[in-house]
């Protein structure tokens, strides 16, 4: 019976829950490319702590924040000088700008690689999750290549973002932002190239060291130790061995290897640390050293995973 108003609740429409049981998957299987992409995306998430607990997010985001803050401080500093003293005063005073950022930014990137990089490789081997990857449609080389690209992506962002912030700050701080960009557009490819060099090198070194241990802490200490000791050794050897020998020996300062590219690209000479003596070498040698060290680290990483057994 229904009321004339039609306001009475409808009868006989009770919800039912059906247990459909196990359903076979008849959808698309995207094979090896999907597997590689999944490992890549997972690498991005691990590096940024996404989908992990709060503690996993603290360090990566702290590094990102500090890097951006430095870019912002550079920009505000230049903007403040220009406003107080007058247009162009910052440039005349040679205040820190794009070419100088990586003198500090590289240290931040090295620490980022030492602290966050091992997170992408070590726990999978420590917890033996790697066993579950290698029984899926993916090889150990697919796996490590996807992880490498994921970390490189993050490193590029961390390397470039402060420079972009700095560029934006300097442009908007100028009275004519458009004119500033027209006058200084060459800085863009320069900082992209210098940032990419540091990101590729640091990613390769960080992951190569991480491939030797299942413990993140050991990998972090190992990478920092490698950089510090090699810089210290290069400084001493560069001083002791005079002339060309000293210049060549100074190349072993691992933390300075990508900064040679920065100095060459920006045509400056104020970012190297302990390996300053290597500045006397021809540009081609310094560039070749960068590629040699980077490719060697990639080769070590590739070899460690090629021979990986479960």
């Amino acid at each position: 019976m229904t009321s004339s108003t039609g306001a009475e609740p409808r009868q006989g429409r009770e919800g039912r829950v059906f247990d459909l049981g196990y359903q076979r998957y008849e959808g698309q299987r995207e094979g090896r490319w999907r597997a590689r992409k999944a490992v890549y995306v997972d690498g991005l998430r691990i590096a940024l702590g996404i989908g992990r607990g709060g503690r996993a997010k603290i360090l990566p985001w702290l590094f990102v924040a500090v890097a951006i803050a430095v870019g912002l401080i550079f920009a505000l500093n230049a903007g403040a000088v220009d406003r107080v003293v007058g247009e162009g005063a910052a440039e005349a005073a040679d205040l820190p700008s794009h070419s100088d950022y990586y003198a500090f930014g590289a240290i931040l990137l090295f620490l980022f690689a030492a602290v966050v990089g091992p997170e992408l490789l070590c726990p999978d081997r420590h917890n033996r999750v790697i066993n579950l990857y290698l029984v899926r449609p993916i090889t150990s080389i697919d796996y490590v290549a996807a992880r490498f690209l994921a970390f490189l992506t993050i490193m590029l962002v961390v390397a470039w973002l402060p420079q972009i912030v700095l560029l934006a700050g300097l442009a908007f701080g100028a009275s004519q932002p458009g004119d500033y960009l027209v006058d200084n557009w060459q800085d863009i490819p320069k900082f992209l190239a210098a940032g990419a060099a540091i990101a590729v090198y640091t990613t390769s070194m960080g992951l190569a060291v991480a491939a030797f241990t299942t413990r993140r802490g050991y990998a972090s200490v190992g990478l920092v130790g490698l950089f510090v000791i090699s810089q210290f050794a290069a400084g001493i050897l560069g001083e002791v061995a005079s002339g060309a020998t000293g210049e060549w020996l100074a190349l072993i300062s691992l933390s300075d290897v990508p900064l040679h590219i920065n100095e060459i690209v920006f045509d400056t000479s104020d970012t190297l640390g302990g390996g300053q003596a290597a500045r006397g070498l021809p540009t081609g040698v310094r560039v070749a050293a960068f590629f040699a060290f980077t490719l060697a680290a990639m080769g070590v990483l590739w070899n460690r995973y090629r021979r990986l057994t479960v």
Partner: protein, 325 residues
């Protein structure tokens, strides 16, 4: 029936150590047990099929292709390792979604399959908790779920009950059996526990020192030697004498009469012996052999034309503590 896995003269040596030697066997639809003591070659066989190891000689095929040559075939395989293999800091739902994608499923399908699979293994309510906080039994379920999530044709399980308490073990074996009977997925499980194999498997392959020493249906292993268990209230010795006179081998065990290797005709003979001896029957029933008894019985002929090997039969057996679950 097409073989899901096939090993032909499969051999794997680690230097001087022989892990697998000229192993010939097939795994077809159903649940197959790979039985053997530690070091018998079970894990090596599984890793060879998964393409994680290269054979020293011989060949193996999975779903008609060699895994070492085509990794894509692994999208249709599942693997549950013996040891811990789970991350601690992610939830089961997140982990399974990721693993489904690594097996080739698109993200949206991977998410729904992960939730469904966790429901099937009884972890639906716990799926958003970090795996690090799970009990051993729950972790075993996650391990099984990650092997199931992409709906494989065949799952290889390496010692699936390792480290579980009796309750957890029962649940895991039920889940393994259910995976075949309800989900329609074939499984091959390795175990050194005969009870596990006997309870869950349709077929059995016995390895010892890297060699296949027996293979066949589990029912065949147990039924071929069906034993009758008879209790009489009185005149037990007369009954046994009558049985022996009529040509039936009978032994006395505690208060019962045991007739091994019974056949259909044995029942008729028992009836006649009861009448002749006038022994009042209290109870008669079959007592199926446990696999452990079979492997300790050196008189059993080998399956598939392989010669019986007394040393092997004893060697494969494990302690009674392991079979008495």
């Amino acid at each position: 029936m097409q073989a899901l896995l096939q090993a032909k003269k499969l051999t794997k040596h680690y230097g001087p150590v022989v892990a697998l030697e000229s192993a010939d066997f097939e795994v077809t639809d159903g649940v197959t047990g790979l039985l053997g003591s530690n070091g018998a070659g079970k894990s090596t066989a599984i890793k060879l099929f998964l393409g994680l190891l290269r054979p020293t000689s011989g060949s193996m095929e999975v779903l008609g292709v060699e895994t070492a040559q085509d990794v894509e075939v692994r999208a249709r395989l599942g693997y549950m390792p013996e040891h811990d293999c789970l991350p601690n800091n992610v939830s089961a739902a997140e982990f399974l979604t990721h693993m489904a994608q690594v097996s080739g499923l698109p993200p949206s399908q991977a998410r729904s399959r992960a939730a469904d699979t966790l429901r099937h293994v009884g972890l639906f309510e716990e799926r958003y908790r970090p795996i690090g906080g799970y009990s051993t039994g729950m972790k075993q379920r996650v391990k099984l779920a990650q092997a199931l999530v992409h709906d494989p044709v065949l799952i290889l399980l390496d010692e699936p009950t390792a480290g579980l308490d009796p309750g957890g073990r029962e649940e895991m074996l039920d889940l393994v059996r259910k995976t075949h009977t309800e989900f329609g997925i074939s499984l091959m499980l390795s175990s050194h526990l005969m009870g596990d194999v006997e309870r869950t498997c349709d077929r059995i392959i016995v390895l010892e020192d890297g060699r296949v020493v027996r293979q066949g249906e589990v029912t065949g292993f147990t039924e071929e030697l069906e034993t009758l268990f008879i209790e009489v209230d009185d005149k037990r010795q007369e009954f046994i004498s009558a049985l022996r006179r009529l040509g039936v081998e009978a032994t006395e065990e505690d208060s019962a009469v045991i007739i091994p290797k019974a056949t259909e005709g044995t029942y008729e003979t028992i009836s006649r012996a009861l009448v002749e001896s006038e022994a009042p029957l209290r109870r008669l029933g079959p007592r199926r052999h446990a696999l452990s008894e079979i492997f300790n019985d050196a008189a059993i002929p080998a399956q598939n034309g392989q010669p019986a090997n007394q040393e092997t039969a004893f060697g494969v057996s494990v302690s009674s503590g392991e079979t008495g679950e």
